[in-house]
């Protein structure tokens, strides 16, 4: 039914619409709308109808008072919804349950929104002036509020239960209508009208509780029945499914909360039990190299606050245990076997430690994604066992010996160039874990000196390469002396050429013996004992000649001769055949005495050479009691005593034409340790002074800790030693104690 309100000009004499009349007309439109929503056969609104309805409202609002019916229309608008909800919508919903109820709800909500859209357009004029002027809730909101207050508030609890039941059903593996759940949950969101409050309070909080208890139940049985890897697989799967759940029908804001709950129930509550499982927990996985399972463990615990700490801890314990086992093995072998086999074992130990490091670094990088916690764990583990002593040798010494074996000619390692480079690289990395780096430097230097001086270095490039690596890792100061040593050798060769030229030009100066001298710069090389020996006259001449030459090159430099490092080639004229003997200078000095006399007593030799008993015994032993008996001893006991006498052994012979007669090496370990201790004292002094100079005043504890920190790059200083040095510096007037507070120290300029 449409009414045309006359063919008159707009502004004049518009016929007034009475409220009841006007509302009756509107009611027809509302009824039509309801019929359409209920699915009854009803044609759609056409533009004419639409405009008529709009116009009716418009007119009723623009009429002059008392016929301006804005307020009444506003109220009737709301009542229209309320009436429809009470008479039709609610009853339809209340008679249904579970999934059917959900479907009905979705349908009714959709209808309601359509109804609001239509009616709010018809009544639109109210929004423009009446509502705006009085700051009332706009039509849209009124419509939604009706549904919220009358339908949603009534049913949301029941709906929530139905939804959660379906969620749990899906968790148990059944198929559910996901689209339906999405639509239902959208209602919770939309009914909030911009706020997530309703969704969170009326649905999400319950869903989270339910999820938590669901997974709590599952976890408590799985943790008993399943192995660690299986449990983790299940957990990963559950988390994946829950994320999918959010993607499909929960609101995205639920994801972090839901994930957190699931993680908590599955992984946090039972973390300890899971990781510590007897035969399948973290320890076992590490033991059995279960890389995939460990990667999974990392992935799962990575997202949990402090979740990785127990894992990293177990990792650290495991690596430490393996390292300790290697050390123990080497220790056991060393005590059971002879000395030289033991030393091979020690080298094997270093190899194994390198392999261990490589193996677990792969774990850190691949399983644990290079996470700092695991790098730290590995580092700390290695720092524990890499600083243990094996059969009296410190790890610093072992490492230096290991390098020596690789770098010397005929060393125990026969490897390709590439393999050597690679090994050297790894050795330098291991050095990072050793706290007594200065001790390593000293042992290394000593062995380097021996390699250089006795031409035992296998490959110059490798020597330089490792120095470069050490420099990179430990700084220039670490390697400066060593580099100086290598340079000295190069200079020495040049020097020798000049010397030979000099001899050529001064035939009178020629000592009659081939002489090669290596001049070393004192500061670079390890300190050597040089005790004066009475040299045979031939050698004395050599020394004089070289001194003469050297003075032509440089004045102001003092030459100190280290005879203990010299080598001599002697022709031994034995009965059977002549044999060239390669001996040390000292051994040569002893042997040359027998050029003039056949037989000499111990004391004779002692007096003539002016040596200490210790040194002489060693020398005579090497010539008379060792493998090659150049001298015969009377009595022919196995050791040298001061009552023995010696004779040149003319009957001596050997298969070879030239033999080397080694001197048993002096145990350098003691000396090295002494030297290093001395250097450390200086280093501590320097550090204390440096710190106090810049800080001027400092408390005791702080001074000690800063000292430790500064020195830690090279060694781990003993606290007692630091205190002692501090006292020493006080007596030397570098520092003083504060008068009032004896725990404070002051720098004295």
């Amino acid at each position: 039914v449409q009414e045309r309100f006359g063919n008159q000009s707009f502004r004049m004499e518009r016929k007034t619409i009475d409220l009841e009349q006007g509302w009756d007309y509107m009611q027809t439109g509302i009824t039509k709308l309801k019929r359409i929503l209920e699915g009854l056969p009803e044609p759609q609104f056409d533009s004419e109808q639409y405009m008529m309805l709009y116009t009716t409202i418009y007119n009723m609002c623009t009429q002059k008072p008392p016929h301006d019916y804005s307020q009444q229309l506003y109220d009737k608008y709301r009542e229209a919804f309320e009436e429809y909800i009470n008479s039709t919508v609610l009853p339809a919903l209340k008679e249904k349950h579970d999934e059917y109820m959900l479907r009905e709800l979705v349908k009714r909500w959709s209808n309601h929104k359509v109804m609001v859209r239509w009616l709010s357009r018809f009544f639109y004029y109210l929004d423009r002036y009446f509502i705006a002027r009085r700051s009332l809730p706009p039509l849209n909101e009124v419509g939604l509020t009706c549904f919220r207050d009358r339908v949603y508030n009534e049913l949301h609890s029941k709906v929530k239960d139905a939804v959660i039941a379906l969620v749990d059903k899906e968790r148990e593996g059944e198929q559910i209508d996901r689209a339906l759940l999405k639509n239902v949950l959208d209602i919770y969101v939309e009914i909030g009208m911009g706020q997530m409050e309703r969704y969170e309070a009326d649905f999400e909080s319950f869903m989270l509780l339910d999820s938590a208890s669901y997974y709590s139940r599952k976890a408590s049985s799985w943790i008993q029945e399943d192995s660690c890897p299986d449990y983790m697989l299940k957990s990963e799967e559950c988390l994946k499914k829950e994320r999918e759940r959010v993607a499909h029908y929960l609101h995205s804001s639920s994801e972090p909360k839901l994930v957190e709950k699931v993680q908590h129930e599955l992984l946090v509550v039972y973390a300890n039990q899971l990781l510590e499982k007897e035969h399948s927990g973290c320890r076992a996985l590490l033991r059995d190299d279960k890389v995939d399972d460990l990667s999974r463990m990392y992935r799962l615990y990575h997202k949990i606050a402090k979740g990785l700490e127990p894992v990293a801890n177990i990792f650290k314990q495991h690596v430490t245990a393996e390292g300790n086992a290697l050390v123990q093995q080497a220790e056991d072998t060393a005590t059971n076997q002879a000395a030289n086999i033991a030393s091979v074992q020690e080298q094997v130990l270093i190899r194994k430690v390198i392999e261990l490091h490589d193996k677990y670094m792969v774990y850190v990088v691949e399983c644990f994604q290079s996470h700092t916690l695991f790098h730290k764990a590995l580092k700390e583990a290695f720092e524990i066992f890499c600083n243990k002593t094996v059969a009296g040798s410190s790890s610093a010494e072992l490492l230096a010996t290991f390098c020596d074996n690789i770098l010397k000619k005929g060393g125990s390692e026969k490897l390709s160039d590439e393999a050597i480079e690679d090994t050297l690289e790894k050795v330098v990395k291991l050095l990072a874990y050793i706290s007594d780096k200065d001790l390593f430097a000293e042992f290394y230097r000593k062995k380097l000196a021996r390699r250089l001086l006795f031409d035992r270095s296998a490959n110059d490039d490798h020597e330089r390469s490792i120095l470069t690596k050490l420099k990179q890792q430990c700084g220039g100061q670490f390697t400066s002396k060593m580099e100086g040593m290598v340079t000295d050798l190069t200079l020495a060769r040049e020097n020798q050429t000049s010397f030979e030229e000099y001899l050529g030009n001064n035939p009178a100066a020629n000592p009659g013996i081939d002489l090669t001298v290596t001049v070393l710069t004192t500061g670079f090389w390890p300190s050597y004992k040089s005790f004066d020996i009475n040299l045979p006259s031939e050698m004395v001449k050599c020394v004089e000649v070289f001194k003469g030459f050297y003075e032509t090159k440089t004045k102001h430099r003092k030459l100190t001769w280290i005879y203990s490092l010299g080598t001599c080639h002697l022709n031994g004229k034995f009965d059977h055949k002549p044999i060239e003997l390669v001996v040390s200078t000292y051994q040569a000095a002893v042997l040359l005495l027998f050029n003039t006399t056949d037989k000499l007593s111990y004391n004779d030799i002692l007096t003539q050479l002016n040596l200490s008993h210790e040194d002489l015994v060693r020398l005579l032993h090497s010539l008379s009691c060792a493998r090659y008996k150049i001298l015969t001893k009377e009595p022919s006991t196995k050791t040298v005593s001061q009552t023995d006498s010696f004779e040149f052994n003319a009957k001596f012979t050997d298969r070879m034409r030239r033999i080397k007669i080694p001197l048993p090496p002096v145990d350098e370990r003691k000396k090295v340790v002494e030297d290093v201790d001395k250097d450390r004292r200086y280093a501590i002094d320097a550090a204390i002074v440096r710190i106090m100079k810049s800080r001027k005043v400092l408390g005791h504890q702080q001074l000690v800790s800063e000292c430790v920190e500064q020195l830690s790059r090279m060694f781990k200083p003993d606290i007692k030693a630091i205190k002692k040095r501090m006292e020493d510096l006080i007596t030397r007037d570098y520092l003083e104690r504060d008068k009032e507070n004896p725990n404070m120290f002051r720098y004295l300029a």
Partner: protein, 111 residues
Amino acid sequence: MGLRKPKATRETTTKMRETVKLISMEGFEFIIDREAAMVSQTIRSMLTSPGGFSESKDGVVTFPDISTTILEKICQYFYWSLQYSRGKETEFHIEPELTLELMMAANYLHT
């Protein structure tokens, strides 16, 4: 624009019609572009309502309370408004005697 005879059009596709027909109180029909008509919020709401309109009745609106003169002026306004928003900044001239009615019609049409 101007007076045109009503057209009987049959369209076999369901795409949106491009024109709407506005009829004044005297029965004059103004067929204008849909886009122009949508300058009026009221007309726009109607045309974008859910459910859509049946073909034959689509886009025909009768304004029994708006005279031909005013409706014509309004249609002119629609086109002027479109041009203005596209950058052609000219003036829209309103005859003084039309002002009041025009304002009221504008209010009604939410233009």
